[in-house]
C-alpha cells in the first residue's frame, strides 16, 4: 500500500476490510506521526481514490483516526473515494459521520 501520492499527499489504498484493518491502523499511525511533526495545525487532504474495498471496520477506523487527530489539532479531509466505496459508505450508514470529513461533500 502506498502512503503518498506522486504529489506528496498522503494516500490510502488497498483493502480496508476486517482482515486488513490491523495493518491499515499501523499505516495510519505512521502517517499521523508524520502529520503531527510536519504539518501541525493544518488541514491535510488524504487521497482515498485507490481504496479497493472496505467494510464497517474500515470506515470505523478512518473515522476514529480522523476524529482523534482532530483532538490534536490535525484536520483531515478525505478525498476521491471511488464510487463503489461511496455506495458502500451510504449503505452502511456512514455518510453523515463523514460529511464533514469528505472534501467532495464539503465542496
Amino acid at each position: 500500500m502506498d502512503s503518498q501520492t506522486p504529489t506528496g499527499l498522503p494516500a490510502l489504498s488497498g483493502d480496508w476490510t476486517i482482515g486488513f484493518v490491523a495493518c491499515q491502523a499501523d499505516l495510519l499511525r505512521r502517517i499521523a506521526c508524520d502529520l503531527a511533526a510536519a504539518r501541525p495545525g493544518s488541514t491535510t487532504v488524504i487521497d482515498c481514490s485507490r481504496i479497493e474495498s472496505i467494510d464497517t471496520s474500515g470506515f470505523q477506523l478512518l473515522y476514529t483516526w480522523a476524529t482523534t487527530l482532530d483532538f490534536k489539532g490535525i484536520k483531515l479531509l478525505f478525498a476521491g473515494f471511488p464510487e463503489p466505496i461511496l455506495a458502500s459508505r451510504a449503505l452502511l450508514g456512514f455518510t453523515a459521520l463523514f460529511a464533514s470529513l469528505d472534501l467532495n461533500v464539503r465542496k
Binding site: V21, A22, A25, S57, L61, T67, L86, A90, L92, G93
Partner: protein
C-alpha cells in the same frame, strides 16, 4: 461466524420441512389461513437468513415463493394442486441450494432454472432470473397500498462483532428492499488512536424504516446474529401513508433526513467515550429483539450432541460408582450405621432421578423421521401411477437419538417397498374388490423395554410361490413345506428381489438384507407378517435406549445375569405339581397357563446351576408378546445398569443386549429375552 451459519442451516432445514409438511396436508378447496401464514413466514425467514449470509441464489428462489404465497394468502391467487407441486419442487431446489452452501454439494442449476420458470409462470408474468448467484429479482414486492409503519431499529453489536464477519451491507440491502430506509452509523469516541483496537467494534446503527411489514418481520432480518441485548426494534409511528417511491439503498442522505423526527441527536452527541448510545445498561427494558417476545426460543437452547453424549457417559460412570458404593455399604451394619444407609438410599434415588433426566435429553420423537414420509409417498405414488395414503401413528413415541438416525434408511426402504411391491395399481385393486387407493401405515409404540415400529400396507402381500422360485433360482435352500415365516425370511438374503425389472425404485435386491443388518446393528429385530391379497406388515423391534436400563440381577450357577425389569412379569417359586415334561421340553403351569421353561444354564452351558425347577426360581418374562419362564437359581437385586457394548469390546453374544459392570466390579451379561428365546428355540 461458523456458528451463525450452522444456526441458519439448521433453522432453514426446519423451515423447509415445515413448508413441505403444510403443502402436503393443505386443503386445496379451503386452505387454512393460519397454514398459509405459517408457510409464508417459513419462506420469509429462509429468505431473510439467506440474504443476511449472502446466499443470493436462495434469496431469489425464496423471494419468488414468498411473493406467490403472499398473493395466495391475500386471495389474489387461488391455490391449486399444480401450484402446490411447484412449491414442493421449489422447496427441493432451495434444499439443494442449502446443501450446496452447507456441504459444498453440487447444485443442478438447470433444475433451479426450471423451477423458477414454473414459479414465474404461476406469477403471471413476474420475471425471475435464477442463473448464477446474482440476486436478480424483478418480481415486484407486494404493492404498498396500505398504511405503513414507521420503525426505529437500533442495533448495537458486541465488541467482538467484526470477528463474526457479518455482511452488514447485505442486511441493509434487505431492509431497503422492504421499505424506505435511512441508516445512520454511530461510532463511539476513542481517547487515543495509539490504543485504538481496529478489530473491536465501536459502531452501532440506527435505522429508520417505513414499511408495511410487521415488527416480527423486521426482527427476523436480524435473527441470525443479533442477541436480545443487541437489538431494539420499536414502532415510532403507525398509519404512515405509503409513498410509491422508495429510497434506494445507495442514496446518500445528507444527514438524518426528513424521515427522522426526534432523531436522537442528543444521544448521538452525548456519547461517552468508549460507549455507544445504546450500550447494554442504557437499553430500555423489554424493547430489545425478537427473543424477548419469542417464548419458544427463550425456553430452548441448541446443544451439541457430543456434549450430551459426554453427559450420558459421565452419568453411566456415576451409576456404576453408586452401585459400587451401595455394595460396599451393605457390609456395614444398618443399625449401627443408620446415617450411612439413609445417605446411600438418598444417593440412589437422586442418581436415578438424574439418570432419567439425562437420558431424556437424548430421546427424540419419531416424528423427526416420520415427517419425511408423506412427501416420499406422495412423489413415489405419482411416479408409479398408484394411489396411496400414508397413515402415521405414534409419531410422538420417543427413541434414542442415535437409533433414530440409523432408522431413517431402513424405514425409507420399507416404505418404498410397500409402495412398489405391496400397493397395487388402482385397476388391480378394483379388480381385487378393493378401493382404488391403498394405505401404507407407519406406526410406532413402546412395548415393554422396546420400541416397535411397523410398516404395513393393504396391498397384495408377499407372493410365496414367487419368493420360493426366486430363492431356488438363486441357489438358496428351499422346500415347499417351509412355513410362511421361513419363506418370508428368504427376502433378507443378500441380493434377493422378486421384481421383474430393475427400476430406480427397486428391483436391485440391495434392500431387505441391508434393512436387517442396520436393524440388527442397533440391537433390533425384523419380522415379516403377510397374507396374500391382504397386505404385509414389517415389524421392527428396537431397544429403547443403548445407555442405561433398570434390571434385576439373577444368579445362575456362579454367573450373574441382568434381566431387563420391563421384560419381567413376575417371579415365583413353583411346586413339583406345576412342572410338566412334554416331549423333550419342560413346561410350567402358572395359574391356568402353561409356559415353556427356558433354562438359562442350558443355553449358556453353565455348570453347577440348579436343575430342578422346584428348587430354583422361575422368572416369567414377556418376549415380545410371548410369555416364557426363565429358570434361574436366585434373584439378587434390582439395579440401574449401564449397558456396555459387547460387540465393541468383545464380540456379539446371542441372547444378550450387552454387558454391564456390577457394584463389585464383575461383568454381567444383560439378557435380551426375545433374542434368548429365539436362540433357545434354534438350539
Amino acid at each position: 461466524m461458523t456458528q451463525f451459519f450452522q444456526v441458519f442451516f439448521q433453522e432453514c432445514a426446519e423451515h423447509l420441512a415445515e413448508m413441505e409438511r403444510i403443502f402436503l396436508s393443505i386443503d386445496l378447496q379451503n386452505p387454512d389461513a393460519e397454514e398459509l401464514d405459517a408457510v409464508f413466514r417459513a419462506a420469509h425467514s429462509i429468505k431473510g437468513g439467506a440474504g443476511t449470509f449472502g446466499f443470493s441464489d436462495m434469496t431469489v428462489m425464496t423471494h419468488a415463493v414468498e411473493t406467490l404465497l403472499d398473493n395466495v394468502r391475500h386471495g389474489k391467487l387461488v391455490l391449486t394442486r399444480e401450484m402446490v407441486e411447484v412449491f414442493l419442487e421449489a422447496g427441493d431446489a432451495i434444499e439443494m441450494q442449502l446443501a450446496g452452501h452447507r456441504d459444498g454439494a453440487d447444485v443442478a442449476l438447470a433444475k433451479v432454472e426450471e423451477v423458477c420458470g414454473k414459479l414465474s409462470a404461476i406469477g403471471e408474468g413476474g420475471a425471475i432470473r435464477c442463473a448464477g448467484t446474482a440476486p436478480v429479482v424483478s418480481m415486484p414486492e407486494p404493492a404498498q397500498t396500505g398504511a405503513a409503519t414507521f420503525y426505529r431499529i437500533v442495533f448495537t453489536p458486541q465488541a467482538n462483532f467484526f470477528s463474526r464477519a457479518v455482511p452488514m451491507n447485505l442486511l441493509f440491502e434487505e431492509l431497503a428492499g422492504i421499505g424506505e430506509t435511512t441508516t445512520i452509523a454511530h461510532v463511539a469516541a476513542s481517547d487515543s488512536f495509539k490504543k485504538y483496537d481496529p478489530e473491536r467494534c465501536l459502531t452501532s446503527w440506527e435505522v429508520w424504516l417505513v414499511t408495511e411489514r410487521s415488527l416480527e418481520d423486521i426482527r427476523d432480518f436480524f435473527m441470525f446474529f443479533a442477541d436480545d441485548e443487541e437489538l431494539i426494534v420499536e414502532v415510532a409511528a403507525t398509519d404512515i401513508p405509503a409513498e410509491g417511491s422508495t429510497v434506494t439503498a445507495n442514496a446518500e442522505p445528507e444527514t438524518a433526513g426528513p424521515l427522522l423526527p426526534d432523531r436522537p441527536v442528543a444521544a448521538a452527541e452525548g456519547l461517552r467515550k468508549g460507549r455507544r448510545f445504546s450500550d447494554r445498561d442504557e437499553l430500555p427494558q423489554g424493547t430489545s429483539g425478537r427473543k424477548h417476545s419469542d417464548a419458544h426460543d427463550a425456553s430452548s437452547i441448541r446443544v451439541g450432541v457430543s456434549k450430551v453424549d459426554q453427559l450420558i457417559n459421565q452419568m453411566g460412570e456415576l451409576v456404576i460408582t453408586q452401585a459400587m458404593l451401595a455394595q460396599t455399604a451393605q457390609r456395614f451394619d444398618p443399625v449401627m450405621n443408620e446415617d450411612l444407609h439413609r445417605g446411600m438410599a438418598l444417593l440412589e434415588r437422586n442418581t436415578r432421578d438424574l439418570q432419567e433426566s439425562v437420558m431424556s435429553i437424548r430421546m427424540m420423537p419419531l416424528s423427526f423421521i416420520f415427517s419425511r414420509f408423506p412427501r416420499l409417498v406422495h412423489d413415489l405414488a405419482a411416479k408409479l401411477g398408484k394411489q396411496a395414503e400414508l397413515k402415521l401413528m405414534g409419531e410422538a413415541t420417543e427413541l434414542d437419538k442415535g437409533l433414530i438416525e440409523k432408522l431413517a434408511d431402513p424405514l425409507t426402504h420399507l416404505v418404498r417397498n410397500s409402495l412398489d411391491h405391496g400397493i397395487e395399481t388402482p385397476v388391480e385393486r378394483m379388480a381385487a374388490g378393493k378401493l382404488p387407493g391403498g394405505t401404507v401405515t407407519l406406526s410406532a409404540a413402546q412395548t415393554g423395554g422396546r420400541i416397535v415400529i411397523e410398516v404395513s400396507d393393504d396391498g397384495a402381500g408377499l407372493n410365496r410361490k414367487k419368493i420360493l422360485k426366486k430363492a431356488a433360482d438363486k441357489g438358496l435352500p428351499v422346500a415347499e413345506e417351509m412355513s410362511d415365516d421361513e419363506v418370508w425370511q428368504l427376502v433378507f438374503a443378500p441380493g434377493f428381489s422378486t421384481a421383474e425389472e430393475v427400476t430406480d425404485v427397486s428391483g436391485r435386491g440391495v434392500g431387505m438384507d441391508v434393512v436387517m443388518k442396520n436393524v440388527q446393528s442397533m440391537g433390533g429385530r425384523v419380522a415379516i407378517l403377510s397374507g396374500e391379497g391382504a397386505g404385509s406388515r414389517v415389524v421392527i423391534s428396537l431397544p429403547l435406549t443403548l445407555a442405561i436400563l433398570d434390571g434385576l440381577s439373577v444368579r445362575v450357577g456362579e454367573e450373574v445375569f441382568i434381566v431387563p425389569l420391563n421384560s419381567i412379569l413376575e417371579s415365583l417359586q413353583l411346586g413339583p405339581e406345576s412342572v410338566n415334561q412334554v416331549g423333550g421340553n419342560t413346561t410350567v403351569r402358572v395359574r391356568d397357563a402353561y409356559l415353556p421353561l427356558l433354562k438359562v444354564a442350558d443355553v449358556y452351558g453353565i455348570a453347577k446351576a440348579k436343575e430342578r425347577p422346584e428348587e430354583a426360581i422361575v422368572v416369567i418374562v414377556d418376549a415380545e408378546g410371548e410369555h416364557v419362564a426363565l429358570l434361574v437359581d436366585e434373584l439378587l437385586n434390582q439395579h440401574q445398569v449401564v449397558i456396555k457394548s459387547l460387540e465393541a469390546n468383545y464380540r456379539r453374544v446371542h441372547g444378550t443386549a450387552g454387558a454391564t459392570i456390577l457394584g463389585d466390579g464383575r461383568v454381567a451379561l444383560i439378557l435380551d429375552v426375545a433374542d434368548l428365546v429365539h436362540l433357545w428355540r434354534k438350539s
